[in-house]
């Protein structure tokens, strides 16, 4: 058991730290929503990529560094330490790029990966729909093939982060409704400036609009927009979701949901820090957050030995969100309504967490998956198995009328 850097990792960390110290003056602010801020964040991503601090685990021939998950985490830790923002397009570089690397054609890799890595073209993930979240394979966005080999796309996606400034999206659509639902899906690359696309911001509890709903009205796609083959969309999507787990797992430190930070907020209140009830609540949530930190190290250690994290990695997200919610509650109880003021560092967190509970898999669906795949418990009886998607939809409609 060894948590310390190896000599090579010590050297790598020093190199990363030195670059960040030399360039931290060029970094933009972390927060901001206007066009100028996005432009600055893209320029900063370009500098990070040129320095080899983006796409650390991508293959060298595709512009990456060909290094392992530990080096990826070292870069993340050093970026936090330097107090500068990480890359803007975490979803593209962390999840969608690796999906194209795994399933895309050589032409797609050459065309898309470089501009993605350098922040020249930001990407968005077009998977979830109003009626397809936990049951992602129920997507209804429909792509119909044209005589010239191209496609026409119609439907709606939702919870799409960064759609309002993305150049491309990776989209899961139904291409055959007459086969069971997992079989009739295809993955597409969609240019976000195409005719027929409407993007609308969705305001969250905090009042900010970090993600969008996206409407597709008879959007034309070329034949070469398909990623991973027609009808193979579900397998391609599973790759993205695996990288999503990885990105969330390896990036949890950057979320800042840390016991030390919450304790610091309470420590300044001389009465609260001696209050047994406050201490019990702080102690209980801190136990969980300290555990998550070491669960993250365990995952990293397993990855470094070449193992892919299983669904149980989702438990860390459940724990993090639950504990951070408890922390927000506790801090607001101690500070009073002031904690909910728009200027407070806690108001945003308190507003953000109820939604995060459902992001990347709801707590309930994660518990189902882990119960079945890790503990080996039997699945819920399913009414959709082996039934063509079109019949399933007809049954659903009949059941609600």
């Amino acid at each position: 058991m060894d948590l310390n850097d190896t000599p090579e990792q010590v050297r790598y960390r020093a190199k990363v730290r030195a670059w960040l110290e030399d360039h931290q003056d060029e970094a933009p602010a972390e927060q901001g929503e206007d066009d100028a801020h996005i432009a600055a964040r893209r320029a900063w991503q370009s500098k990070l990529a040129a320095a080899g601090l983006a796409g650390v685990t991508w293959p060298v021939e595709l512009g990456g560094q060909g290094l392992g998950p530990i080096e990826h985490v070292i870069v993340g830790q050093e970026i936090i330490r330097a107090g500068v923002p990480n890359i803007l397009d975490v979803i593209g570089v962390g999840m969608l790029g690796p999906t194209i690397i795994a399933h895309g054609s050589d032409e797609q890799k050459v065309r898309y990966l470089g501009p993605m890595l350098h922040g020249d073209e930001v990407w968005c993930q077009l998977f979830s729909e109003p009626a397809a979240g936990s049951d992602l394979a129920a997507v209804q966005a429909r792509a119909v093939s044209r005589d010239d080999g191209g496609w026409r796309l119609s439907g709606q996606k939702v919870w799409t982060t960064n759609a309002h400034f993305a150049a491309h999206g990776l989209l899961l659509a139904r291409t055959d409704a007459d086969v069971p639902k997992h079989k009739g899906l295809t993955m597409f690359i969609v240019p976000m400036d195409a005719d027929g696309i409407t993007i609308r911001g969705l305001r969250q509890i905090s009042g900010e609009a970090e993600f969008n709903e996206v409407f597709f009205d008879d959007v034309a796609l070329d034949a070469d927009a398909v990623v991973g083959g027609v009808g193979n969309g579900w397998g391609t999507a599973l790759t993205t979701l695996m990288f999503e787990r990885l990105t969330i797992g390896l990036g949890s430190e950057s979320l800042g949901y840390k016991a030390e930070r919450y304790a610091a907020a309470i420590a300044t209140d001389e009465h609260a820090r001696l209050d047994p009830e406050v201490r019990r609540r702080l102690g209980e949530l801190s136990v969980e957050l300290l555990a998550v930190k070491f669960i993250g190290y365990r995952m990293l250690s397993a990855l470094a030995q070449g193992q892919i994290p299983g669904p149980e990695a989702g438990l860390a997200k459940v724990t993090t969100v639950r504990s951070a919610i408890e922390a927000g509650d506790l801090i607001a109880d101690v500070l009073g309504p002031d904690a909910l003021d728009a200027q407070s560092e806690w108001a945003y967190m308190i507003s953000f967490l109820p939604g995060l509970k459902s992001a990347g898999g709801t707590e309930e669906i994660l518990r189902n998956t882990i119960g079945e795949r890790v503990l080996g418990l039997p699945p819920e009886p399913r009414l959709d198995k082996g039934i063509p998607f079109s019949e399933l939809r007809a049954k659903e409609r009949a059941a609600t009328t």
Partner: protein, 371 residues
């Protein structure tokens, strides 16, 4: 970074599992509720396996291993509810080793069984070194050592006290209140065996009435503190093993038992509860890794890591044993099943050595003082 078990650690764990599998410890835990004399004596097993000297340096005849290895053995004991006197012996052996005490060879070999009479270190709410009271919520001051070397005081609910050969007691010096570790021989102290809700847990109330004692050289507040937190990690690990058994037994039953035409494990209410046990198990194991690492490499964080592991393990076992009862239905609440034995283990353990409440408070205190 590598958090996988080494080959040696895997061997130690597997050997412990194998050695303990030869004794029917779980049925004995039930029978002993009516007749404590039927409990198997596992001390010879511990001696043969070399666990008595696990934390003793090689120069002093031990294995020279660390806290994490001790936790691996404790987890195996917990898995089968084995009552081995390691919770008392291991921290005591570590203190005797540090002091280079003349008895250390015999203690490492297990010929002499040592017992740590723990005192909880001072905190920001209580500046005293304290010990368990016989009853109630007010902690007692640790035993006091007079200038003539006589030890006085009462310590209740001491793990593994009955039958030990030598006691290492956390005490304070009457002259200046400084923490000292003193050694008391069995002949010089009265040990009253305490009633046990969990028959596998050996406990004693100790009365030091001007007992003859010798001060351990080179052992001060820092070492006593380290021994206290070491005991916390051992309890955490023991809980982890019991949680793992409770989980696997419950999962197997949830696959076999059918209601309304389906296995009960297919229902979300049952499934989610068992996943909660898994979640708490994963948390506890991660915190054991933290504690093992801090013990060696981050001594400043050991109090935090050990307290967090203890709080997590205790809570995990409480939850797991209740889930075990619920999943099994009515039979789970009867002596026909093993579930009550895990429940009894959970309820008694969580109230020993400061209890989960103090461990949780210590986590908060450490974080608040570092902020």
């Amino acid at each position: 970074m590598n958090l996988e078990l080494t080959d040696e650690q895997t061997f130690l764990r597997d050997a412990a599992r194998d050695a303990l599998s030869r004794v029917k410890t779980v049925p004995a835990a039930r029978d002993a509720l009516e007749d404590p004399s039927v409990l198997p004596d596992l001390w010879p097993t511990a001696r043969e396996a070399g666990w008595a000297g696990l934390l003793v340096s090689e120069d002093n005849g031990g294995a020279g291993l660390s806290a994490f290895e001790a936790m691996l053995v404790m987890a195996e004991a917990g898995r089968v509810l084995a009552g081995i006197e390691l919770l008392g012996h291991l921290p005591a052996s570590s203190l005797l080793d540090t002091a280079g005490d003349e008895r250390i060879g015999a203690v490492a070999e297990g010929e002499l069984r040592a017992c740590f009479v723990a005192a909880q270190p001072p905190g920001d709410l209580d500046a005293r070194w304290t010990v368990e009271p016989l009853s109630g919520s007010v902690r007692l001051s640790a035993p006091v050592l007079s200038e003539s070397g006589a030890l006085s005081g009462v310590v209740a609910w001491v793990p593994d006290a009955p039958g030990a050969d030598v006691y290492v007691v956390g005490a304070t010096r009457a002259s200046d209140g400084v923490a000292v570790a003193v050694v008391v021989n069995a002949a010089d102290v009265e040990v009253e065996e305490a009633t046990r809700y969990d028959a596998t847990r050996s406990l004693g109330h100790m009365r030091f009435d001007g007992a003859a004692s010798t001060v351990l050289d080179g052992v001060g507040a820092d070492e006593l503190e380290r021994a206290w937190y070491l005991a916390q990690t051992l309890l955490a690990a023991e809980s982890l093993g019991a949680v793992e058994t409770a989980l696997s037994v419950s999962v197997e039953y949830a696959k076999e038992r059918f209601t309304f035409g389906r296995a009960i494990g297919s229902y979300q209410a049952v499934k989610h509860s068992l996943v909660e046990v898994l979640r708490l198990r994963e948390n506890t194991y991660a915190l054991m890794l933290y504690a093992g690492w801090a013990y060696e490499d981050r001594p400043d964080e050991f109090a935090l890591a050990a307290s967090a592991a203890r709080a997590s393990g205790g809570h995990a076992l409480d939850y797991a044993s209740r889930a075990m009862i619920s999943v099994h239905g009515g039979i789970g609440a009867t002596w026909e099943h093993d579930a009550p034995l895990f429940f009894r283990r959970a309820q008694l353990s969580r109230r020993l050595l400061g209890g989960l409440g103090d461990a949780t408070d210590r986590v908060a205190a450490e974080l608040l003082s570092a902020a």
